[in-house]
Structure formats: C-alpha cells, structure tokens
C-alpha cells in the first residue's frame, strides 16, 4: 500500500478515534498533569483504558506494569501517553502481519468467517480490489446462501471491482457452493479465491458445524486449503470478542483477524487483550465502506491512535 494511502488512512483513523482519544486524553490530563504518579492517578489511568474496551484484566495489568516503573515520579501527560502507547505497541507488534498470498497455491483460498454483520462481505470486496490491483487473478464465491440478498450484495462488489463471482441460488448448500467455486478456480487458474460465508453466532453449534463442513469440502480438492481462515471482528464489539475468537478458532481453525469499522467512535481496545491472549495475526483493518477502505494493521499507529497521540513517535 502506498505512502499516500498510509497518510490517508492514518488521518481517517485518527479522525475516527479523535473523539474517544480526546476523552481518553482528557481523563489522563485532568488527573495527571503536574502530579506525582500515585494510586489515584493509576486508577484514573485504568479507567481510561477500561473505557477503551481493553477489559478489566488487560487494563489492570497494563496499569500495574506502568506503575512499577514510574510510581512516585513526576510525569507529564505526554510522557504517560507515550509510555502507554509504547507498552501497547509491544503487545500488538507480534501480531501485526499482513496476509501473505502464497503464489504457489492454485488457488490460494481465503475463507471469511464471523458473527452477523461484522463486515465479512464488505471485507471480501475490499480484499478483491486490493489483490486485483496487485495483478492477481481473483475469484469471489457467494457462500452466504442464507441471508436475504447476500448474493446480490457480493455480486455488486464483483461489479465494483471487476472480479467474477461464483454464486448459486439463495438457500442452496453453502458447502456445495464452496466446492463448485474450488473447481472453477482450479479450472480457470485463479490465484486467489475469496469465499464469503453467512454470519453466524459462535454459540450456535449447528451453524458452527456447517462451517466445519464447508472447510472439509474445500479440503477434498486441496488438502492444504483453506490457506487462510479470517475472522472478521467489529471494532464496536466489547468483551464478547474473546468468546468469538475462542469459538471460531476452535471450530474453524481461524488463522488471522480483520478488524472492521475502526473509522467509528469505537476504540477496538479489546484487540490488545486478544493479541496478548490468542496471538493470532491481525492482517488488516477496515476504515470505511468503500473498496479502498482496507489497510494493513500497524501496531504502533493503532496504539498511538488509541492513546490520542498524533504523528510518529517523538
């Protein structure tokens, strides 16, 4: 992704995070400016993190670590923000990996999974756009055969991006459609096959079994496929993201995450706890509804935006 785009997404992300970051900063400023870092100050710091969805455990730990090194010292607001952003970066850095498409696979198969409305179909459209622009031959499969107009939605993404779409009738078997898509992708020597699936809540066993079946059917044609199983998480989601990752990882062998809707007022702070706990790579983030609104996940940028810091590290 180009440098120009990077600035574009950063400012977008910041614009989106601004409100929350401002609040975060305000909280921190109000207590900590020209003050020794004491228990009360640490508590306020913890509260700021909690309001960014980091969750009680992660927030407590971050603050405890922070307090260890700086307790009793005079600290300025910016120092605190910088230091916390650094700490968060350290946690996120190991999971910041772009999706690598192995060109030896014919095709490289990506299966998109997640709860309802998270942004699976949109993200597939964005990925199709990105990889097509990189010169790959891409095919999309309308594997959501359940939801009203889900096929129509992906077809429009096909028109927008100029990428063909394999589809069946609404209500047809999703696994059978995945099989067809595999066949066609192999026949047409496609580089990248992106398979959409219906949204499903992770606590619904029958739907999770259906997903397992789709994966089994794909494997019938290529034992190594799907090569990537991406769980799409909505940044608005709070602590339930833990349960989502846990179930989808167990039932669908998720290989990586995409976090969507980071252009909104939600902070997506739960990602910090998820990174620490599951160590699943975060491949990309969604920052809007158009085909270009997908960006690589950058640990430092995310952490700094979360702390309301502008620009690069001093």
């Amino acid at each position: 992704m180009t440098e120009e785009k990077k600035t574009g997404w950063l400012s977008r992300l910041r614009a989106g995070l601004k409100k929350s970051s401002n609040k975060l900063s305000e909280n921190i400023v109000s207590v900590l400016t020209k003050k020794k870092l004491d228990d009360e100050a640490l508590e306020q710091l913890e509260e700021a993190l909690l309001m960014a969805d980091l969750g009680p455990a992660a927030a407590a730990r971050l603050v405890a670590d922070f307090g260890k090194t700086r307790f009793g010292k005079d600290v300025s607001e910016t120092e605190i923000k910088e230091a916390l952003a650094e700490q968060i970066t350290v946690i996120l850095q190991p999971v910041a990996h772009p999706l690598v498409i192995d060109r030896d696979k014919n095709p490289f198969v990506v299966l998109m999974v997640g709860v309802n409305g998270a942004g699976k179909t949109t993200t597939i459209g964005k990925l199709a756009q990105h990889y097509k622009q990189q010169g790959l031959q891409v095919l999309m499969a309308a594997g959501d055969t359940f939801r009203a107009a889900a096929v129509g939605q992906l077809k429009i993404w096909g028109e927008r991006t100029g990428v063909p779409v394999v589809s069946g009738d609404e209500g047809c078997d999703a696994a059978a459609l995945a099989y067809q898509a595999m066949e066609r992708a192999r026949k047409d020597a496609v580089d990248l096959l992106l398979i959409d699936t219906a949204g499903r809540l992770h606590n619904k066993n029958d739907l999770m079994q259906e997903l397992a079946k789709i994966i089994r059917v794909i494997k019938k044609q290529d034992e190594s496929a799907p090569h990537a199983i991406l769980l799409v998480l909505d940044a608005t989601t709070g602590q339930n993201a833990h349960a989502q990752v846990e179930s989808f990882r167990e039932m669908a062998q998720v290989t990586g995450l995409v976090v969507t809707k980071l252009d909104g007022s939600a902070k997506g702070g739960v990602l910090v706890a998820l990174a620490d706990k599951f160590k699943l790579p975060v491949h990309a983030i969604g920052v809007g509804e158009t085909a270009d609104d997908l960006q690589a996940f950058r640990a430092e940028d995310f952490a700094r935006s979360l702390m309301g810091l502008e620009g690069d590290a001093a």
Partner: protein
C-alpha cells in the same frame, strides 16, 4: 444468553452465603467483584460506578438478619436496582396514532436494522393486525433495498417499489405519500447504517426525520456492543432524538451490558429484543426478565422471596441448627423438608428458579420431574412407624412391603426413597462440614458459579 454475568454474580454472592451478618467490608468486597463482572459484561464504566455506589448504599444500610442468607439479600438488592435502571415497565410501540404511524430505524452499520424492520413489520401485521408498508432508504450498502424487498416478500408485507437514483429524503417522501394514499397503518423506514460521528450522514437522517415526522425513532444496537454503547446512544439521541432501543443478537452469548449503558445514558426504553436471524425472532422487551438474565441467577430472587414468604424462619433455623448440631437427619426431617418444597412450588417450580438451569432444560425434560413425587414420598413416610422414621436400618423387606401397601406405591418406590434419604443424609453431613446452615444451604449445597445444585437425590436417582 446473559448466563455469564449471572453465574458470575452468583459465585460472588455465594461466598457471602452462610455468614451471620453483612457488614460494610463484605459489601465493599462484593461490589468490587460486581464492578469487574459488569465490566466483563460490557456495561459502560460511568454507568457501573453510579450503579455500584447506589447498590452499596442500599445494601449496607439494610437489616440483613431477617433475610435467609445475607448473600441472597444482596442479590436481591442488586437485582432490584438493575430493574430500576432498565425500567420497570415494558413500553409499547407508539403506533396508535392517526395513520400512518411512521417508524424510523437507526443505527450503526450492521447492527440489524433491516432485519429488525422486517421483524417489526411481521409483528405488527400478525399481532396487531396493522397494514404495514416497508421502505428502505439505504442507498449506501450494496443490495440493501433488495434485501428489505426480499424480506418483505418472505413475510407477505408490501415494500415500497425501488426507484434507482433517488435520495433517502426523496424515497421517504414517496413512502409517506404511498402510505397515506393507500391506507397503510404503519410505515417502517429502514435507513442505511451510519457512524454517530459521520456528520454528513447524521444530518441526512435528521432531514429524513424532519420530512416524515416519525412517531418512533428506534436505535438498533447489537448486544455485543462494548463501551462505545454510551457514545453511540448519546450521539444518536442528541442528533436525532430516539424514542426507544431495539437490541439484537440476544441469541448470542454476549452479556448485553450495552442495554444497561444505553438505557442509563438516554433514559429511553428498550422496546424489543432480536433473538435470531429469522423474521419471527423478535421479543417484546420485559425489564425484569432482562434483569434476571443479566444477573444470570435464573431467578434466585423470586426463590428467595418465595422462600421467605413460605417458610417459617424459626422452623428453618431449628432445622439448620439440628443439622449443625450433628443430630442425625431422619425421616421426620425429610417429611418436613418435602412439605417446605411443596410450598416452594414443587420440584419443577424450584428448578425453574435455579441458576444455570437454562443449559439443562432438555435434560430436565428427560429427567421427567414429577411434582406428585413429593406427595407420594410424604405418604410413604407417613406410613412408617415413629421408630422406623428415626432408624432407617429397621426397614427390612417385610416392613417395606407394608409401607408400600400403606401408601399405595410399589416397593421399588420405597426403595428409591430410602436410597435418596441415605444420599441426603450424606449431603447433610457434607453441608455441615462446609459450615453452611440454613434450609436453602441444605437444598442447594453447590449453588456456585451457575453450577447445577445437586438435586439428584430428589429426582429418582437420574443422572444429569
């Protein structure tokens, strides 16, 4: 669904159970845990702080000696405050106006607006016999209008003809015209998902509102929403003025704390719950039911209330003291026990009130809880001689046959009761060891973390 928080709180308060009184330190500790539980349930922090402060004040001031256990008393206080916060009464849709009543659906991207529009249309058509018109103003998301049209067909509700190239305000105007001319009772306007910080789209929603004067402006939110619930609710309310909340994906396992946050911040009622993807999966919101689910205690609260009403506290204390003093548990005690259980609504009544039961519903069905069982068991005991009631070892084959005849049951049922009695004796000994007195302590020896209490000894020996 809200199982998580409930079992968590049950666990917290269970630790208080059995202590003689409730002091400030106890409450403070419990409230710390409540705070964590509520945070994990995604209730927004400012809302939690306020909530915890109020509960604490109420709990510490109360005379806890009268209650069955201090822990359960606190549970009830937490529950009552939760219901207060969520709103005591269900508030109906405001559709009884001069037709057409206009309902505008609003919310973030993917929250469930289109699906909920169709669900409401179905509900109003089938439950309230309204003639409903659906119209999608979503010109943003690919195939959004088609999605609503397909759903409309599925539920046999008319949807406004799609004309490409119109703006949302134009479509809304056309929809209102059509609704007026063709005599529709209700017009449901589905809108595109929008971020609360997207000024342009928020302004567009305000224009639609001004053009159509919707009687209901429902904010549709996902039950999985985190701390942002406050921000989103506040902004939508400030800029559009919402009249109610629809919370979707209650069929998931999110703890749904966002419901609390939004209600607290906007003061607007939660009106409907989305409980699945199908168009029939809509529930009218009932606050106390939701509070129970958030608490996840099954319904410990009403169990406590019923127990308090039905059981003479002195009798309960006598019994507890008897267990604690190490006196043998005999058939007379069991008979008393059985009578008290019947006052509590029998086995099935009690089981329904216990936490963690949701998961076990199917198994319970298999287990065939039989409320007449209690009566039969009482009859068996009444057919025993006083000596037999004191000493189970007297019950040989001949005596069992006599007792069976006397109480009109099979010998096998007498055997079962004896087996259960022996098991209960064992449990009572355990309870004593655990230091938990009280009738409820005896009935629910393992009421912890939403775990199923060991009632197998009362259920014909069926294993769960």
């Amino acid at each position: 669904m809200f199982e998580g928080l409930s079992s968590k709180l049950t666990g917290i308060f269970d630790r208080l159970t059995g202590r003689g009184a409730l002091n400030e330190a106890d409450v403070t500790e419990a409230m710390r845990e409540v705070r964590v539980a509520l945070l994990e349930a995604d209730v927004a922090l400012p809302v939690i702080k306020d909530f915890v402060a109020r509960v604490k004040e109420a709990a510490v001031g109360q005379d806890v000696m009268r209650s069955i256990t201090p822990g359960q008393q606190v549970v009830k206080i937490v529950h009552d405050h939760l219901v207060d916060l969520l709103g005591r009464t269900a508030e109906p849709l405001n559709v009884g106006v001069t037709p057409p009543a206009v309902i505008m659906m609003l919310g973030l991207q993917g929250s469930g607006k289109t699906t909920s529009s169709a669900k409401l249309a179905k509900y109003l058509t089938e439950q309230e016999r309204k003639k409903v018109l659906l119209a999608s103003l979503d010109v943003q998301r690919p195939a959004a209008q088609e999605q609503l049209a397909v759903l409309g067909q599925q539920i046999n509700v008319v949807s406004l003809q799609i004309i490409a190239g119109q703006t949302p305000v134009q479509i809304a105007g056309r929809a209102l015209d059509t609704a007026r001319k063709e005599g529709f009772d209700v017009l449901i306007l589905d809108t595109a998902g929008r971020l609360s910080i997207d000024e342009e789209l928020m302004a567009e929603a305000a224009s639609v509102r001004d053009a159509t004067g919707p009687h209901e402006r429902l904010l549709v939110v996902d039950a999985m929403t985190g701390q942002d619930a406050v921000e989103t609710a506040r902004r939508f309310d400030a800029q559009i003025g919402i009249t109610g909340i629809v919370m979707t994906r209650i069929d998931g396992d999110a703890r749904g704390g966002a419901a609390l946050s939004m209600r607290a911040v906007t003061g607007k009622p939660i009106k409907f719950l989305g409980v699945g993807e199908k168009t029939a999966a809509l529930e009218v919101y009932h606050p106390d039911r939701l509070a129970n689910r958030i608490l996840g205690m099954g319904d410990v609260v009403s169990l406590v209330e019923k127990a308090a009403a039905a059981i003479d506290a002195n009798e309960a204390r006598d019994m507890a003291e008897k267990f604690m003093s190490g006196k043998a548990f005999d058939f007379d005690d069991l008979a008393k026990h059985l009578q008290q259980m019947q006052k509590l609504g029998g086995l099935s009544g009690m089981m329904g009130m216990l936490p963690g039961i949701g998961k076990l519903k199917d198994k319970l069905k298999d287990a065939n809880v039989d409320d007449k069982l209690l009566k039969r068991q009482e009859a068996i005991i009444r057919s025993m001689t006083p000596a037999e009631r004191k000493d189970v070892d007297l019950l040989g084959a001949a005596r069992k046959r006599r007792i069976a005849k006397g109480s009109g049951v099979e010998v096998s049922e007498v055997n079962k009761l004896i087996k259960q009695f022996l098991e209960m004796q064992r449990v009572m000994k355990q309870v004593k060891k655990m230091g938990k007195g009280g009738l409820l302590g005896g009935l629910m020896p393992k009421l912890k973390g939403g775990e199923m209490p060991d009632l197998s000894h009362l259920m014909g020996g069926k294993e769960f």
